[in-house]
């Protein structure tokens, strides 16, 4: 007869870290489906490759570190990192971009720092930034929305492009990126930014075919889909509300002030909110608890800082979207924010 000895408390909520991770992965599904609808199979192929690579990389490192493999391999964190990176990559990026990116994220950014819970940087975003700086051509080869493509890309053709750089018919990625009028496409953010530097007003830029009523075709709906996924997570209390709230509010304030001052050189708030990776960043990247600030006050500051950085990079920086850079900079600031936002203990 054995007595079971345990320390109090004896009862416990039944949710687990792995369940939390699974929930976040489910919440990305609407966004992924929208991406598929507007930009074809590319991202789904990348996501699948990323998950496979993540498992392999995690398995190798965990074996080397002599960690309990079944417990940590299936905690969902590696899959989540892979999904987030796969979602962020250009759909027609070559296959090795994913392999390198995910391996870097898992092995270096996550496991070398001590594994889940110990990484100071968001693995997906650190890998994204690494890829963007190392392989700028591949990482900016965004394709136009499927509706504007001159070549119809089916699943086999996409696979062929990703693995051989050419479709079965022999179109290169550069050719694919040209829409029906023979103009190379860029993302809405990139288009507006480039045009402003060329002396065109925002309104003029929005006449481009990739825009529909002042917002990028496809990008609007992708962002809305991620917003829906994020609201689901908030509803499920899987993520904390202060970070996305303060992040979006800060972007709103800054872009609105800029737009009021000079509407010709600054796009509208809605444009800021619904282009690029704003919603993905707000609900899926910034809310990563490991790299975020911990207290409510700290999270508000963290979100504000990220919002300011995104606006500054988009407006003044060299890159059209700045979510990844903003997130990394905030990750660095998180411990400091935690240090200065400690709550007052009862009775002190």
């Amino acid at each position: 007869m054995a007595f079971w000895i345990a320390s109090s408390p004896h009862n416990h909520v039944q949710n687990k870290t792995s369940a939390l991770m699974r929930l976040v992965i489910y919440a990305t599904i609407p966004g992924i489906l929208t991406q598929w609808y507007f930009f074809g199979w590319g991202n789904i192929i990348h996501i699948i490759m990323a998950i496979a690579t993540a498992f392999a990389a995690e398995f190798i490192v965990l074996s080397l570190r002599k960690k309990p493999i079944p417990l940590e391999l299936f905690d969902g964190s590696a899959i989540l990192t892979a999904v987030l990176l796969g979602v962020s990559l250009p759909a027609l990026a070559p296959w090795w971009i994913t392999i390198i990116g995910v391996s870097f994220a898992i092995v270096i950014v996550k496991q070398l720092y001590g594994g889940l819970g110990h990484n100071p940087f968001n693995p997906a975003m650190a890998a994204y930034v690494m890829l963007l700086i190392s392989f700028p051509v591949q990482m900016t080869s965004w394709q136009p929305p499927s509706s504007l493509m001159s070549v119809n890309l089916d699943f086999i053709n996409t696979l062929s492009v990703i693995f051989t750089d050419f479709t079965k018919e022999g179109y290169s990625v550069a050719q694919l990126r040209m829409h029906v009028d023979g103009v190379t496409m860029a993302t809405p953010l990139d288009t507006v930014k480039t045009n402003i530097t060329l002396g065109m007003t925002v309104t003029e830029s929005l006449n481009n075919k990739i825009f529909d009523q002042g917002l990028g075709i496809g990008w609007l709906w992708i962002n809305i889909a991620f917003l829906v996924g994020g609201l689901f997570l908030l509803f499920k209390k899987a993520i904390a509300y202060p970070t996305p709230l303060s992040f979006l509010a800060t972007i709103f304030i800054f872009s609105f002030i800029a737009f009021l001052i000079s509407p010709d050189t600054n796009p509208s708030t809605l444009f800021y909110w619904f282009s690029g990776a704003t919603m993905l960043g707000a609900f899926f990247i910034l809310t990563d608890p490991v790299t975020c600030a911990t207290s409510i006050k700290g999270r508000i500051i963290y979100g504000c800082l990220a919002g300011v950085l995104v606006c500054v990079i988009r407006k003044f920086g060299g890159y059209p979207d700045g979510i990844a850079f903003a997130v990394l900079l905030c990750n660095m600031a998180a411990p400091l924010i935690d240090q200065y936002t400690r709550p007052r203990t009862y009775g002190h």
Binding site: F3, P9, H12, H348
Partner: protein, 761 residues
């Protein structure tokens, strides 16, 4: 204060930070009345069931005790006595596993009930208002009442406060899941509880009495409201259900909006809190003169067939309660004393119910699974969100794992009330509270060690200062003595002249030494004359002692050798043989010592006689001369070939006078040598002993010369030293287990001591 009451009357309360909503599971046991149980076969009554000190035990094994009779008595304010829960016989007083998370054993009184339930004499008090405040507090203390909510703080200490009390808060929140003991008690004993509250009101005279109760106990709330309808002072505060409302600090915050400053007691805010169960016990104690011998215990959990509240006598084994309620658990026993949030799992069925036991929980495996596996913290911060003390549990956890005590203190670890809310919500299933408990224990331990180290340091410093002071005092004394001597020598009296001549002689000796160093030859006769010098005497003395020591050792060896020859069943006999041999050795050594003393006394008298003859020289001079001679002889024997230069005046002066001495000494040396031979010799041992003796001699000589130069005015010191040396020797010789070397060393030390004494004389 008025605004607080206004708010309460409007049903508005403050909120504490965080809190959780674990499944309450109170329905299991709320629908049945409190059940009376038969007497168990054996009661184990822990001597200490409260925070503080254990009392002195009044009974002995075999005593017949009556129900309610005190088993211990208070010898200290922080002591509450324990009483016999029923009449019976004390069968044992010994350590037994008690109700504590550690599963440690502590002193318990084992009482075998006789089934008669015979009370001791009781004094029913019909009107407690006649009693003074002190009488009431005394009655409560004598009844052994300590807080029944969980901590077990002695109630009379809380009541004996000098502070002006604004609020007396009665804690009926009972926020832990499963527990319904207070709920049922209120329903069934509301009148008695009200009496208890009135007694507390009498003692503390608070401005208001607030009864805090969670809204999940509608029947109890109704009962309390009905009972207190007519009393304006008492407010029944119906609180929202959130764990841990029942925590003292949390309940104060909810009811009054005040925070108890860290490190102080609620009485600093003019607040005293008592558990509602304690109120019932106080009423019983004051009015009916019934000490705290039973309490309501919720026996619940899904492994229990008939979960119910029971009246359990203090000391009832948990096993008995579970049997009575029909507990069926599989092979894996998981019994929790207390609730699921703050209770502790029991290591044994024999653990007794104590004054703080409000619940026995026997869950089934689905209810409280035990497969929690801790994974890494992902800093989700949910723990910080639910912490009622507004701590940062995740950071505390990291610091606790890193044993960073400073960081833990900075994070206010000791403000943690161990409610378990953080660990309850943790998605990584980290046993946070457990880490904090370990860290707290470590810090307490470290603090104790620090205090000890600090004390040791102070002691060391004090000693250093004292030694320094004594040294200074000694130097001052020596300086004064030297001055006095100088003054005396310069005074011009005959005595002074004598002393002067002693100094002159010493100077001459130094000169002689120098001269000797120059010319290495010496007169043979002069060397012969120096046989009677103290060194020589000492030599013989030592030799005999060493011989005695050797003999003792030999005897012992012999005994040891004979021992194995004897049969094993005659071990006692062999040990007797050894003892005898040792005794013999001791006796013979004593005899040798006696002879030595005889011979040396003869020598001494002779030396003195001889030296006294030439009256122009003082005794001291003579001794000095003798020493010089001895030295000269030594050097002469060493220095070969001899030269024919004339010896120094002093050395050649009286060769004939010393001759008889030399004879006597030779005799005595012969004697001791004989003894040495008789008492079994091995040449090696003798050699060793001789070397040791020579070393000792050299040391003694050194000391002698230095001391004779300094002065002989510090006899106290030397005497003490001699005494202590002798003592050491005695103890050394007494220890029969000492080996040969030790014995030789002892002999050498003894010789040294003797030498020193002689040189003083």
């Amino acid at each position: 204060m008025e605004s607080v009451i206004e708010r309460i009357e409007q049903g508005k309360f403050w909120k504490f930070h965080g809190g959780i909503h674990p499944p309450q599971q109170k329905f299991l046991s709320t629908d049945k009345p409190i059940r009376q149980l038969p007497l168990p076969e054996l009661l184990r009554i822990p001597v200490q069931q409260h925070i503080g000190e254990p009392g002195d035990i009044l009974v002995t094994v075999g005593d017949k005790v009556l129900k309610g009779q005190a088993l211990t008595v208070a010898n200290h304010p922080m002591v509450v006595p324990v009483h016999a829960p029923t009449s019976g016989t004390i069968t044992a007083i010994e350590a037994s596993v008690i109700a504590h998370p550690s599963g440690l054993s502590e002193l318990c009184i084992f009482l075998k009930p006789d089934g008669e339930e015979k009370w001791r004499d009781r004094e029913i008090c019909p009107d407690y208002q006649q009693l003074s405040k002190n009488d009431l507090i005394d009655k409560i203390a004598q009844a052994g009442i300590s807080g029944m909510g969980g901590a077990g703080f002695p109630s009379h200490i809380k009541l004996n406060t000098a502070a002006q009390i604004n609020y007396l808060i009665i804690n009926a929140a009972e926020c832990e899941p499963y527990i319904t003991a207070d709920d049922l008690l209120i329903r069934e004993q509301c009148a008695a509880i009200l009496d208890g509250i009135k007694i507390l009101d009498n003692i503390l005279a608070p401005a208001f009495i607030l009864i805090g109760i969670e809204e999940n106990k509608p029947e109890a709330i109704q009962a309390l409201k009905n009972a207190t309808k007519t009393i304006d002072k008492i407010k029944v505060c119906v609180l929202p259900v959130i764990y841990p409302t029942g925590g003292e600090k949390q309940l104060i915050q909810v009811l009054t909006g005040k925070e108890v400053p860290s490190g102080t007691l609620p009485s600093a805010l003019g607040i005293v809190m008592h558990n509602i169960g304690t109120c019932f016990a106080i009423a019983d104690a004051v009015i009916n003169d019934i000490p705290l011998i039973k309490r309501v215990v919720t026996v619940t959990g899904k492994s229990v067939a008939k979960p119910q509240n029971v009246w359990a006598l203090i000391g009832t084994p948990v096993e008995f309660l579970l049997q009575q309620c029909g507990c069926q658990q599989g092979n894996k026993k998981h019994i929790i004393m207390g609730g699921p949030m703050m209770g502790f799992s029991l290591p044994s069925f024999t653990v007794p119910v104590v004054k703080t036991t409000n619940c026995i929980l026997a869950p089934d495996e689905a209810e409280i699974p035990d497969n929690d596996q801790e994974v890494e913290c992902i800093r989700c911060g949910q723990c910080a969100d639910v912490c009622p003390s507004q701590l940062l549990p995740q950071e505390l956890q990291w610091s606790a794992k890193a044993h960073d005590h400073q960081a833990l203190n900075d994070l206010n670890l000791f403000d943690c009330i161990e409610c378990g809310a953080c660990a309850y919500v943790c998605p990584s299933h980290i046993p946070l509270v457990h880490y904090y408990r370990v860290a707290k224990a470590e810090i307490r331990q470290q603090t104790l060690l620090d205090i000890k180290a600090e004390k040791a340091k102070q002691r060391f410093e004090a000693r250093k200062i004292r030694l320094e002071r004594e040294k200074l005092a000694r130097e001052e004394k020596h300086r004064k003595a030297a001055e006095a001597r100088k003054a005396r020598m310069n005074s011009g009296t005959a005595e002074a002249n004598n002393e002067k001549s002693a100094v002159a002689a010493a100077l001459a000796r130094v000169k002689a030494k120098k001269a000797q160093e120059k010319d290495t030859n010496n007169d043979v006769t002069a060397s012969d004359t120096s046989v009677g010098s103290p060194q020589e005497i000492e030599k013989t003395d030592k030799k005999s002692q060493v011989a005695a020591a050797i003999a003792r050792a030999k005897a012992k060896k012999l005994a040891a050798q004979t021992a194995p020859n004897t049969e094993s069943n005659k071990s006692t006999q062999s040990s007797n043989v050894i003892a005898e041999a040792v005794n013999n050795a001791d006796n013979s050594s004593k005899a040798a010592e006696g002879e030595i003393t005889d011979s040396t006394s003869v020598i001494n008298t002779n030396v003195i006689k001889d030296i006294e003859k030439p009256s122009e020289l003082s005794k001291k001079d003579k001794i000095a001369v003798a020493i010089a001679k001895a030295k000269a002889k030594k050097r002469a024997t060493e220095a070969k070939p001899l030269k024919n230069e004339p010896p120094e005046d002093l050395l050649s002066e009286k060769p004939s006078n010393d001759e008889p001495d030399s004879q006597i000494v030779t005799n005595s040396t012969n004697k001791t040598e004989q003894q040495v031979k008789e008492q079994a010799l091995s040449p090696d041992d003798i050699k060793k002993a001789k070397i040791a003796a020579a070393i000792a001699k050299a040391k003694a000589k050194k000391r002698q010369t230095t001391e004779s130069i300094i002065n002989n005015e510090i006899p106290d010191d030397n005497e003490q030293r001699n005494e202590s040396a002798e003592k050491e020797i005695q103890t050394a010789t007494q220890g029969e287990s000492l080996d040969k070397n030790a014995r030789i060393a002892a002999a050498v030390a003894k010789a040294k001591a003797k030498k020193q004494q002689e040189s003083k004389n």
